[in-house]
Symmetry: C2
Subunit: 360 residues, 2 copies
C-alpha cells in the first residue's frame, strides 16, 4: 500500500526496521539516541546557536498546544493567522486554554497577507505572539513565511510557526528568519513514524517560560529542563518511534537534506498535477500558492463517482488518497510526501485513468 496522504505516510523499510529493538528509556544508549535526535532537529534549520529542540510525546497538535500553553502567558495575547483548518485549530487551542486570542482570517485559497498582519500588530499593542501555519494541509497552500516573519520581527512580537507539513522539505534557516518556536512532527516530511512531535524554541524565550503552562504533560519548559538535566525524557518516551525518527533523519541527510527532498517532492507534485489536469481534474489552488506537499483537486461537476467509491477503487489498487476538507467546494487531496517517487505517481495516474475508463 502506498499512502498519498498528509501523514502518517509511506516510510522506508529501513526506518520501520529501526523499531525492531527494545530500549531502556533511561539507559545511556537511549540517552545518546535522544541527544542525536535533538542535535539533528536543530541542525536541520540551522538553529544550533539560538534554539533548542524539545521533542514531545503525541501528535503534532500536542506540540502546538504545549507551545501555546508554555510560551503565551495569561496576561499576553495571541494573534492567529488562519486560512485553513490548522490555523483555526491553533485559535481553538488558545481559546480552550483561556488565553487571549484574536484571529485574522483569509479565504482557504488565499495566502496570509503580511500587510494586513502589520496593520493588526500596529493597531493592537497587546498582541505579544503571532501564530502562522507554514503549509496549510487543508489545501496544500504555502504561506509567505519570510515576509510574515519579517513583519512580526520588526513589530517585536514572537512568531510561533506550525511547520508540521513543511519541516524537512521546505528549507527554513533560523539564522535568517526570526521564529520564536517552530513546531513539527516525525511523520511528515521527515518520513519517520508517528508518535512524537517537536518544538524548536529560542533558548532565551524558553528560559523565561517557567511555570506558564497549566499542564504538566504539555510543558515545553519542564520537558526541556528534563532533557538538559540528565538527557532523559520526563515521562516514558515511545522508544521505537524515537529510534525510527533518528533513522529517518540520518536518511534525510544521506538524501542531501531538505533541498534534495524538496526537489523529489516537487518532481512528484509536477508529475501529479500535469497528469491530473490531463485527466480532467483542476487543482483548487493557484499554482503560485501550491506547495509540493499535498494537492487539492476539485471534483468535476456531474462526476459519476462518490469520493468513497473512488477511494475504494484506488485502495484496491494499492493507493490511499485523502478526502477534501474544504467547506464550500467538493474536493479530494493527494499527498506527494513520504518515501514515494515520480514513478509511483506515474503508476497512480495510470490506475486513476483505468478506473475512470470503467465509468465514463
Amino acid at each position: 500500500v502506498i499512502l498519498l496522504t498528509p501523514g502518517p505516510l509511506t516510510t522506508r523499510r529501513q526506518t520501520r526496521e529501526a523499531m525492531l529493538q527494545d530500549w531502556g528509556s533511561r539507559d545511556p544508549a537511549f540517552i545518546e539516541l535522544t541527544a542525536e535526535l535533538r542535535r539533528r532537529l536543530t541542525g536541520l534549520v540551522h538553529g544550533e546557536q539560538s534554539h533548542t529542540a524539545v521533542p514531545l510525546q503525541g501528535s503534532g497538535t500536542f506540540a502546538v498546544e504545549a507551545a501555546i500553553n508554555t510560551l503565551v502567558g495569561v496576561e499576553e495575547k495571541l494573534l492567529v493567522l488562519a486560512n485553513g483548518v490548522y490555523g483555526e485549530r491553533i485559535a481553538q487551542i488558545a481559546g480552550r486554554l483561556g488565553r487571549r486570542v484574536e484571529t485574522l482570517r483569509w479565504q482557504e485559497c488565499a495566502p496570509v497577507d503580511p500587510a494586513r498582519v502589520r496593520q493588526a500588530l500596529q493597531l493592537d499593542p497587546a498582541i505579544s505572539h503571532v501564530a502562522l501555519v507554514h503549509c496549510e494541509t487543508t489545501t496544500g497552500l504555502i504561506n509567505p513565511l519570510e515576509a510574515v516573519a519579517g513583519v512580526v520581527a520588526e513589530s517585536q512580537r514572537h512568531l510561533i510557526l506550525d511547520a508540521m507539513s513543511s519541516f524537512g522539505a521546505i528549507t527554513i534557516d533560523l539564522r535568517q528568519v526570526s521564529i520564536a518556536a517552530l513546531l513539527a512532527s516525525a511523520n511528515k516530511c521527515l518520513e519517520g513514524t508517528p508518535g512524537i512531535a517537536f518544538a524548536i524554541v529560542e533558548r532565551q524565550l524558553l528560559a523565561r517560560s517557567k511555570g506558564k503552562s497549566s499542564s504538566l504533560s504539555l510543558d515545553l519548559y519542564e520537558q526541556w529542563r528534563g532533557f538538559e538535566a540528565n538527557g532523559q525524557w520526563r515521562f516514558t518516551p515511545p522508544v521505537q518511534v524515537v529510534a525510527a525518527a533518528v533513522e529517518a533523519l540520518r536518511i534525510l541527510e544521506q538524501e542531501g537534506g531538505p533541498e534534495a527532498r524538496h526537489r523529489r517532492y516537487q518532481d512528484n507534485m509536477a508529475t501529479l498535477l500535469a497528469g491530473m489536469q490531463r485527466l480532467g481534474f483542476a487543482p483548487y489552488l493557484d499554482s503560485r500558492l501550491q506547495s509540493p506537499i499535498i494537492a487539492t483537486f476539485r471534483i468535476p461537476e456531474g462526476w459519476p463517482w462518490t469520493f468513497e467509491a473512488f477511494y475504494a477503487a484506488l485502495a484496491a489498487r494499492g493507493y490511499l488518497i485523502y478526502p477534501g476538507k474544504l467547506t464550500h467546494v467538493d474536493t479530494f487531496r493527494i499527498g506527494c510526501i513520504g518515501a514515494v517517487e515520480k514513478s509511483d505517481f506515474a503508476q497512480l495516474l495510470a490506475a486513476i485513468e483505468e478506473i475512470l475508463s470503467r465509468k465514463t
Copy 2:
C-alpha cells in the same frame, strides 16, 4: 538486552514486527484495528456494559492528566491517596490544572488505609473524586483496590484509578469493583510498545463531561466522541504503536489472559526475591504488600558498589535494572514484567552473583 524496569520493557519479537507496516490512519483497515483495540481493552476488565475505552497518544501521564482535566470540574474537588511518586504526580497535575485538590499521604512502605479514606470523605462533602494508584511503581507496593473502591462507592464519590503498572496482569473486574475511570498504558503489563495510553471510563460519566477539559489534546470526552463518530482518532495516532498494542493484546489472550500473566510474573518475582535474599539483598517492602510487578531492594550498608557501577556491570551482561526512587533509603529496583520468564531471573541472579564475587 533484557529490560528489568517498570517499562518500556522487553517485548516479544512478534509484537515489534507488527510495527513493520505502514497504515493510513483514516483507512477502513486502521479504523477496524482501532475498534479491536478498544474492544479488547474494555473486555480485559469486563467493562463492556458500563465503560468505554478511550486510547490517547502519549505516555501514561498524559492519560492521567486527560482524566483529571475531563472528569473533575473546576467547582469539584479531588482527593488524592498518595504513598509514592505517582500519587504525588496526580496531585501535582490537578494543582497545575487549577483544580481543588487535597492529598492524604502514607509512608512509601505503607498501603493506603481505607478507614482513613472513609473518614476524609465524611469530613469533606466537597470532595467529588478520589484518585488511587493501584500499584505504586515507586516501591512495587500494591494498594487495596477493592476496599478503597468500596469506601469511595458507598460515599458516592468517583474513583479514578491509575492502573498503569497493574492493568493486564492483576485482575480487575469492573462488574465487581466500582471504578469511574481506569488509566493504563500500552508498554507495561500489556507488553506493547510505548506511545499510547488508555482511559477506560464509565460511559454515563463521560457523557456528562463535555467542555470540562481546558485542553484540546487531552480531552477524553472529545477523543471518545471522535472514535464514536467515525472510528478515527481526532489527531494523528502512532499507527505502528497501535498495531503493536493490538498484537500484544492478542498474545495476552493466547497466554490465558491477566490470570495467566499474573502467574508468570509471580513466578518471576518469587525467583527474584528468593535469589536476592540469598545474595544478601533485603526487599524494601513487607511481603504482603509486594506486587509481582517490580521489587525494591535496600542497598546493604557498606556495599562496595555505586549504583552506576553495578548498573553498568549488569548492562554489560545484558540486563538493564532500575534506580531507586525513595527519599530516605538507598535502594534499586528490578522489574518482573515484560516478555521475561523465571529462567531469565535465574540467569540474572547468576550474573549478579558473579559480579559481586569480583568485589567482595
